[in-house]
Structures are given as C-alpha cells and as structure tokens.
Symmetry: C2
Subunit: 261 residues, 2 copies
C-alpha cells in the first residue's frame, strides 16, 4: 500500500503457511483487492486415487480462495502423469477434473480461471497451452457463461481464463480469442515480458519493457473486450529480478507499469 | 549407406562448404535421396535492403536445392528483426517473402516446405509456430496446391509444410491440421523426442523413445493423410547425443526408428 499497489494475487503456499484465516484478515485489514488466488488445477494423475486427491485439493483451494475473498482461482491444467505419453488422455482428465470442481466453485462463489501456459510446459506443467484451447474448455463445461453470485461490479462467468502474456504473446489467434473470451470470461490479466535471449525455460522472464511483447497493444485488446480488472505483474526470474532488493523490484514494476504496460 | 540409410537432409552450411556441385555429385554417387534441404526462410528484416538480401539468399537456396536434387526446401519463418516487437509485421514479411520466392521455386521445380517451429522460438528464430498457421499461409499463397513439375511419384504442392514433431507435438489441433494438409502439402516429416525435463531451449532434444511424444500415433496420422516419404531424424543435442561417437548415434537412431517411430 505504501507503494500505491492496491491489489494482490497471493500464492497458496504463502497463504497456507500464514494460515488462511489470518492471511484473509491481513489482506482485508490492508484494504487490498485479491485479484486472484494462485493456484490450483494439476488434474491429470496416474490413477483414480491420484485424481481423487487432486480434486480434493482443488476443492480446498476453492474454499481458501473464498476465505481470502479472491475474485477468481487460477487453474493450471497439469502435465502428463509420470511415465505417461498420453496427452489426449491428460486433456480428458483436465476436462473431467474441471467438470467435477465447477459445482463447488459455483457454491462458493469463486470463478475458476483457466490459465493456458506456454507450450514449452505442456509435458511437465500444463497441457492447456493456448487461449483457444482454454476457451473451448469453458464453452464445453460452462456454455452459458453462467455468472457467479456475489454482486460484483464486473460480470464474471463461473469458468473463464487468466491471460498471462508470457504464455500467449506469440499466438497469431490471440486477438481473436481475447475478443471471443469477452468480459465475462476474462478473469485475470498477467503481465511480464519475453526476453529475446531467454536462457531458462522457467525462471528467466523479463520486466515489462525489457522484452519483445507488445504489452500496450494486447492490453488494449483485453480492455476493448470489456476487462476492467488489474494488470498483475508476475515475473519468475531467479536469474535476475529475484536477486535484487524488493524495493528496487517494486519501484521498477510501478514505473514500467506506467511506461510499458 | 553402410547402415542402410537411404535418404539425407543436408544443411546448407555443409553443402556450401563442400561446394554445391561436388555435394550433389557425392549424394548422387551414393544413391541417396535428398528428402529436403535445410534450410532457408528467415524473411523478416529491419529494412528494405535486409529484405532484399534475404530474398536473394532464398533464391540461391532454391537453386542449391535443385542442384542437389532435393525433394523440398525447408523454410523457417525467421523471428523479429533486431529491436523490433512487431510480430504482426513479421508475419506480414514472412507472407510477402514467400510470395516473392514462390515463382522462382516453381520454375526450379523445388517445393517449399514451411516448418512451424515451437512457440518458444517465436522471438528469435521463427514467428510461424503452429501447423495451422503454416497451412493458412499455404492456402493464402498457393490456394490450388499447384503441383511442381518433375514427374515425382508423390503429388506435391509447390508450397507445403515440414512437420517436425519436436515443434508441434503439444498442439491439440495437430491431428486435424495434419489431415487438412493432406499428402500434397505434407512435404517432410521430422522425428525426435521431447524430454520431460528439458534443460535447454535449443539443444536438448531427445532420441525417439526417450521423451513424451507419441511418435507412432502421429506418424500414423501423417501416413493416413497420404504421406509416403521418409521419417527424418533431427536431434539437436549438445548436452547428450552430439557428445557420443557417431556410430553409436546412428545405430541408436536406426534401432529406435524400428521400435519407437
């Protein structure tokens, strides 16, 4: 708040370590909006017991998201179960897992935001890799874009998407798919940058403005579709930004938000 | 030939170093089929002089491909010009570059095979990243799938695609797009494997069978579409296979070709 930041997207491990109730109280006391809760999903498993465990954990994530007042719960699909090469089977498990989770999310008033991850994570993290694929899931499982109760200012479908530029910036269908999502399904918008010389598959994201993504252009598409939420900064960067003092990182985020987002 | 390999897909730098005529003579003397010539393309440039230079070089590549009797010339799109973030502009330059090259390729009787590269290379190597995007270019520039003269046994469009599993295995639309390509546009088929724990963006490809790609399943789609050409092995692997003795690599390629392709 000191820096003028009014929203936060906490990760589960941090919230769980603090205790969900205490974390919720801290966030409310600080007057922060919880843009989304990161993250659940990870549906594919090698056997039925694994699938049940994943579903149970996802239901707990929905409850935690409700407890901290999150505007959505981010889902990443999950990759191939250990030893499996069956990506079509993994897609089916993601479909079935979200179908099983959705009624609980509706009851709790927490919209689910499917975040397509970059195709380079298809094997080990998420087998939903384009906005089109994520929206096909939304249309299959929540065809009406049924709203979540809660009287929120922005209309939100129970099942939508989180658009993270790092994962989708390269896609020639991005503009059309953002328009297709519309304001009901656009539940979260994450920004960072793709460095032209990326050195690591996971932890070498760039600060906005340092890479090749046309962030203002894509932000304009998202806003033209009716999205009025936050632009959330998410920069995995063990090679650079995580080594710097937190104050410097925050100051740079805010400055770049003004000049490069 | 000693190992029973009857086809080859030479790279330009090797052919140019040997001399194009001499390379062609060696290949013919060995009785090898030149499945494709790797590679040209790289169209986007920062200015008109750069675009002209790229086109000139592409025309030379067509001539070299004809001289060594290649069944196709592989094109990779090229990435963003240095300092540019304009990916839509790069897409247009790729479109225009192929349009300018195509008449020369038709004259020379060398089909052009657009190879979509994995989206992780969109910035620095190729901004055509899905089979759908490559086929959209084919349909726009060569709508009739006009054949190349030459009396080849397999019908081939003047403009088609090279399907490299490493780049496209993750795509939920892959099966449908292979069927869409059909035998006329399926000009080359490259195999290797995606390692679940990939350590490097460029040079950590896996030997067939060591990764997560369902190679036989996708090969069956390609053959069901009418493709009767070779399965070409291409394994960039400075971290593993390039360190091993050439005989071991070749022996393993052949063995895996029988068991995992």
């Amino acid at each position: 708040m000191r820096a003028g930041i009014t929203g936060i997207a906490p990760w589960r491990d941090i919230v769980q370590a603090a205790g969900v109730e205490k974390a919720g109280n801290m966030i409310r006391a600080a007057g922060l909006t919880v843009t989304c809760y990161c993250r659940a999903g990870l549906f594919p498993a090698a056997d039925e017991a694994g699938r049940r465990a994943a579903l149970d954990d996802n239901r707990r994530a929905v409850d935690e998201a409700a407890a901290i007042g999150a505007r959505s719960l981010v889902l990443i699909a999950g990759g191939l179960p250990k030893g499996s090469k069956d990506i079509a089977g993994a897609w089916r498990q993601v479909h079935d897992g979200i179908a099983a989770l959705l009624p609980h999310a509706l009851d709790a008033g927490v919209p689910l935001a499917i975040e397509p991850l970059h195709p380079m994570y298809a094997a080990d993290r998420a087998c939903v890799n384009t906005l089109e694929q994520a929206l096909d899931l939304c249309d299959a499982l929540d065809p009406a874009g049924s709203g979540v109760p809660g009287g929120d200012a922005q209309a939100r479908a129970a099942l939508g998407v989180a658009v993270d530029l790092y994962h989708v910036w390269w896609d020639p269908k991005l503009e059309a798919q953002i328009a297709r999502a519309g304001k009901e399904r656009l539940l979260a918008f994450h920004v960072c940058d793709w460095l032209a010389k990326t050195r690591d598959l996971l932890e070498d994201r760039g600060m906005m403005g340092d890479g090749v993504i046309e962030i203002p252009k894509i932000r304009a598409w998202v806003e033209a579709a009716g999205f009025t939420g936050y632009s959330e900064v998410e920069i995995f960067s063990s090679l650079d930004w995580w080594k710097r003092p937190a104050d410097e990182v925050l100051t740079t985020c805010i400055e770049r938000h003004r000049t490069a987002v």
